[in-house]
Amino acid sequence: MIAAEMAQPPPPPWAGPLVELYRERYQPMVRLAYLLTGDRTAAEELVQDAFVSVHRSWSPVNRPASYLRTAVVNACRSWGRRRTLEAHRRPRRAEPAVLVADELWDSLGRLPERQRSAIVLRFYEDLPDADIAVALGCRPATVRTAIHRGLAALRTEVQR
């Protein structure tokens, strides 16, 4: 389907590499974004924004996959901050009557945004401290602290 859509001549110069990147990284990035936001719809939207961002910066980008991941992480963090602000400003809508009983997932969602991001990048993406630090825009020591504190908080919540 993607190939058919891209078959319309003439393809722009970025089309081929971007399609390859989409094929290889779109689903993993949507999953990563979902783990960072907890919102499936927002996850897709943010990853699509990130792909547009990658396209705009295509020529100087040497490692598009890494750039994409950083763009996704940044977008998710901004989204989380906006949503926190909105939650303070707007009346809370009634939650749908659904049963959710994944304590660990709920606890992860309650962590501070940096701790949550660091834990997801470590335990889902398997990134080393240095790469997480690049993605989060902080020092590796800060990453280690965030993961340590986040895990401690999760441990406490689960044992409660």
Binding site: P12, D49, V100, D102, I119, V120
Partner: protein, 384 residues
Amino acid sequence: MIEDEVRQMLERRAGDVSPSPGAWAEIEHRLDGAGDGAGEGRVVALRRETARRRFPLVAAAVLVALGVAAAIAAGPDGASRVDTTPAGPSPTAPPTTFGGEAPTPAIWPATTTRGLQSLQADAAAGRRPDLLDPRAAAGQYLSDLLQPPNGPVEGFEVQQFRAGDAQSGEVPYVMGGLPGTVLVRRLAGDGSIWYVTALTHLTLPVTRVGYDGTRFTAEIRPTAPGRLLATITPVGGGQGRNVDFESVVAGQAVGVDAALPGAGAAIALFRLIGPGGAPTTLAQVRSDEPAPIRAAYCEVLDSVMGERPESYVGSDEHLADLSRLRDAAPPEVVRDVAAYRAFVADRVSPGDPLTQDVQSWPQAVRDALQRIDAANARLCQGAP
């Protein structure tokens, strides 16, 4: 070890997420809206075009609603040249029941009357012989459904068709030792194709299925324990979503109330994954009647319209309003609303009035606005 638990939980959660099929089309639209390869050059160009007339900025916030797009469309002589041609749905968008098409209860092999009629032609030409036999149709439906990630690929046994009346019946099947039923119906009389209207399973009774144009609701009372997952797919506009449940206790009623604005109907697939690797069981239903999608869209449009300050244009609040409008939009304008929102998100800033100059926007965005404006007039103001 908490680390192992976290790792497993993340893997499990991530594994439940599947991107929507129209994702690439959405990205393409955003790229189109940004201009082909424009990049930073386009921003520079915008800043240099100071001689261009700026639109009344107080109205720019409601571009997508009414008025401004028509102003864009007006030529120097003031004559309207609004393009009333609908944009049409995305090639990867779900099929639609909107636009006067007769509703259908079908969930497979198509979800619209038009789609079923097309398959009827295929069957008549010998290309879909499976659809002419209810048992074969049910078997093919199950084969399609049981592809990952929906369920086990392991075998299932399709039994003999049991007629209910001349036009409908059921096909029992057994999967993992548990019986289920595929409900089938015939499109017309003898020689016409069979389609699926529902999938039921003893362990997953689904009741009180409803959809009011904004929310999908249902009640499930699983008779076996496990992990319950739901995937709700819009038909005729809107955006799909997944709803997760965990650790369902047998016999416990679980209510589903999922926001799904802007669709004509909804199809819900429920999966019950048994503990300890017990077989997955499935149920699939469709909401009863197409919903008043037009009314839902116009209601959102009303709430979005109104005068706003310059600082609103391109702000998070503006984008949130456009998201609501896009989510409620009928298929004929959803692509244009999405493209417009993507452009605003990417290029328009509340702190930079030059970026709010509509006349300097790409022609593709202005064309989208014209189509949205024409559709708004037709949908919400009764224009022909």
